[in-house]
């Protein structure tokens, strides 16, 4: 097939721009309240008084020791994340050496950078594509609350928890790699307390 030489801007798709703009406006209208953090189950343990079984401990150990992060780094914190993967602050020793480009193969999303409304539908789509169980670490001041850019309300989302539920918040602008590693260890402790098998339900059957 012969390729016609490209005229100036034969491809400037204004229809697609309008559709995407509509998606962004809808998401902005629906995200006026922050999504609550997924930690209600942490209090249930004491109420139900059921200890974790050995199987639980084994599954949790496997999950927390090989967390694979998904790629989501818009802005400056990304370079502290890359430095954390580097030779000095080695994230590979925590089992996190593989930065999975495909969200289907990842279970941790470390959000490193400011979120804008234009980017928000894409982040939501990536979060939806990750398989359960999945966790989110909000890294940096911009991810927690919009940070230094929070007053530009027309473009900046005030924190990732408007769009996706967040498990651990790591403050800093940008947080040092040591701080990020501390946040990851907090997440590992949270995963270690997770109840996977409900012994009472098993016994009821």
């Amino acid at each position: 097939m012969e390729i016609k030489p490209a005229a100036k801007y034969i491809y400037s798709d204004i229809e697609l721009d309008r559709e995407e703009g509509q998606v962004i406006e809808d998401l902005k209208a629906n995200s006026q309240e922050p999504i609550p953090d997924p930690d209600q189950w942490l209090g249930e343990e004491l109420e139900q008084n059921i200890l974790l079984t050995t199987v639980d401990a084994l599954i949790n150990w496997g999950r927390r020791s090989s967390l694979w992060p998904a790629i989501c780094f818009p802005a400056c914190c990304a370079f502290e994340l890359i430095a954390a993967n580097g030779p000095r602050f080695d994230l590979a020793r925590f089992g996190m050496e593989i930065m999975r480009a495909s969200p289907r193969q990842a279970d941790l999303m470390i959000t490193a950078g400011t979120l804008t409304w234009k980017m928000a539908p894409n982040v939501r789509r990536i979060y939806n594509q990750m398989a359960e169980p999945k966790w989110v670490i909000a890294m940096g001041a911009c991810a927690i609350s919009g940070g230094i850019f929070a007053s530009a309300e027309y473009a900046v989302v005030p924190g990732y928890n408007r769009i996706i539920p967040v498990d651990v918040y790591v403050p800093g602008c940008p947080p040092r790699p040591e701080a990020l590693i501390y946040g990851i260890q907090m997440l590992q402790k949270k995963i270690a307390r997770r109840k996977n098998i409900d012994v009472r339900k098993l016994l009821e059957r």
């Binding site: 818009p74 802005a75 580097g86 990536i126 850019f149």
Partner: protein, 367 residues
Amino acid sequence: MAVRTEPFVLNIGPVHPSTHGVFRMRATLDGEVVVDIEPVFGYLHRGIEKLAEERTYTGVIPLTDRLDYLSSMANNLAYCLAVEKLAGIPVPERAEYLRVIMAELQRIASHLIAIGAFLNDCGAFMTPIVYMIREREKILDLFDMVCGQRLTYNYMRPGGVSQDIPDEFLPALELFLKQMPGWIDEYDQLLKENEILLARSKGVGILSRELAINISASGPVLRGSGVKWDIRKADPYSIYDRFEFDIPTGTAGDCYDRYRVKVEEMWQSLRIIEQAKKQIPTGEVRSKVLHLIHPPVGEAYAHIEAPKGELGFYLVSDNSIAPYRCHIRAPSLLNVTAIRDLMIGWKVADLILIFGSMDICMGEIDR
């Protein structure tokens, strides 16, 4: 038998391991060959120009850090030069020397990441960038010693720098200058005549000289196309006219030349730092400036040679404590203007490579 084919639109999305930030390209492909391409920006538009209008002149400096977050010292320097031009603030000698040392160290750090990411795109998946990060950590240690931060320094102020260097800085800098040439030699040994790198990047993405000038390209992109234009020589700011250094240029304007220009610039930066270190005087590091700067009514444009190109700040003031208008002339936005002309006719793999050789930073483009 003739097979009917039609072009296919591929979205190389904002979240992609090799788009150097959140950059999106809608590529129309015919098979594997790119027929047309539309870049989409704005995924990191944080309204820095609007926010600068509500902060004091000194308070804008942390915002400028986050523009091109890989070269914060250069951003700070450009902004402080613009404020000093607008308000007529003098700078003491020691502060000038410290600024030059920091700016050149920042240039080396930024080029290390640029080369590492470019080689990442070439296919050497993680090895070069891990080597470059090892070197960059040493530079970040030096910066950490001076201002306590690793990425966004907030170090320069209108009228000088914010604080003096500690005693252990100059010996550590001496050690770094002794070791760095050995490491750059190590990279050259592995990469300069590497068959795969030559095959992938020689002759790919040729930016002609006329087109480079027409799109207002600057920095390694312009110099890789053969134009010998460096603001440190053409319009010297600060005290760059006291140092001897060369301006490396390429000949063909392809990806390989842009890579070589960056490596040679690292050598020249080491030369400048050595000369500055020998000549640094004692004295104060910041001239006496009011806390709330009230420049007279007027405008000023100051530009520097940032690692990515010509970074400039255009400030308009109306004699109040905040800038009336602060426009940031971002080099990456202009370097990327010719992306359609460069990429049409190449394959998808080359597209990623050409984009990586342009070395952009989305924080700067979207501001």
